[in-house]
């Protein structure tokens, strides 16, 4: 079964559908159709994936094996209510939506959550992307598992609660981290300094946690309890109360963590 090839329909034509679709195509699965309300993105992705294109859930091709909903979270439930697929396998790709919203669409449903941030600007090696899967029954699980294994080296079987926890942790590690880079960039630009100067530091910050627990890698004024430097930093941020508030709260949080780790 490991090299079984599936016929797949994508509902949604955004970054997840694009990167996932390309990975599936590369592993010799067939993308039968791309269905998206946005005509231009639907056509664009369909072209990329050698598939048909549709803008209406009414025109869904019912000859596929697996239907992948890769839309934004709000649309998933609506799609599940309206799609007609004769109990074929249907999955969504969301980190935060319960699997059960799909039970209206089919008895064979599941989740196929690739734990990665996808953007137009950046090419992804899908083999390195952990895929978190769960399913409503064994037959569906086996199919999703086979599909996942054909494009990724890391498959994790988890339930909906665990998936929500992983998604939450990912918000801290990815979205919030990126926002801190945004703040750092803004502070530098406003003082006519280039963001590039921080890049070796950022690279090393991330190198260090590849083989070490971040809890053990903490450095900086808050970790050292260096009140003088923290006071000077808060003073430097006196014109931007929002950044100052972030500085204060994260410093407080580091001080507390440091105490707990001792």
């Amino acid at each position: 079964m490991a090299d079984k090839k599936y016929k797949i329909v994508f509902i949604g034509a955004g970054n997840v559908a694009t990167h996932l679709g390309l990975a599936l195509l590369k592993s010799k699965h067939t993308i039968v159709q791309v269905c998206s309300l946005h005509d231009s993105s639907s056509k664009e992705l369909a072209k990329l994936l050698n598939s048909k294109s549709s803008t209406s859930i009414e025109d869904i091709d019912d000859s596929a094996d697996i239907y992948i909903i890769a839309t934004n979270d709000d649309t998933i439930t609506k799609v599940a209510r309206n799609i007609k697929i004769n109990n074929k396998i249907i999955v969504h790709t969301s980190g935060s939506i319960d699997m059960k919203v799909l039970q209206k669409a089919s008895i064979n449903y599941g989740v196929f959550y690739p734990l990665q941030t996808f953007s137009k600007a950046s090419k992804i090696d899908f083999y390195k992307v952990p895929v978190c899967i769960e399913a409503s029954n064994d037959k569906t699980f086996d199919a999703i598992n086979t599909l996942a294994k054909s494009i990724s080296n890391t498959i994790v079987k988890i339930d909906s609660k665990q998936r929500k926890t992983i998604h939450l942790a990912a918000v801290f590690a990815n979205n919030f981290t990126n926002h801190l880079y945004t703040i750092a960039e803004d502070i530098l630009i406003k003082n006519d300094l280039p963001f590039d100067i921080l890049k070796p530091l950022i690279e090393e910050t991330n190198n260090k946690i590849k083989n070490n627990s971040p809890a053990k890698m903490q450095t900086g004024p808050a970790m050292r309890g260096d009140i003088k430097t923290m006071k000077a930093h808060k003073q430097l941020l006196s014109k931007n109360k929002d950044y100052q508030q972030v500085y204060k709260l994260l410093s407080k949080s580091i001080i507390k963590s440091t105490k707990n780790n001792k």
Copy 2:
């Protein structure tokens, strides 16, 4: 002058002195002495750098060309008051201490601030570390500049105010980021999930900003204004009010930044 070799004394024997000392030794400078109040670290580093060791500022070797204070911030001023070096060049390596605290030690003083996080666990390619320098006069600047160029490809001439700004931005990009990883790890561990699962995501988060502004790379529920997911996340964090507070404040900050960037 580009390949002039200097005789150097280190005051301090911590991570900065270790990594910087090794880089200087590799570039054929001579480390004359390591001076640290902690006898064992002083001896250990002196051995590594083929130099003498001392535990008292009274015993400082006055035959060197450049004296590098690589201690914690609080100690720098004390050292500057007590060191006797006949107007030899003296620098400190701190991101946040004003250069002028060194004027008690010599008329030839400056700053040699390597913008990197140094730890025992991680080897550093010093050529990639930006070194921020300033000096009290041209002669001193030239010497520090020559020294910096012998170990790094990126030398940045900045004043004390700019250096403090860079140090502040570094706290956001390095210390605070590492703390967010610590929180993410803690959330996962408490739910019996491995932190490793996030590593490809963290790698990609950092890949994306190599050639793009982080302001343009922001993703996630706060950026999308996805109130339902944010509410669910806050609910998941209801047992840890500290993490919940961090989640709320950073989400609010992202929402505000997103509006400003539109």
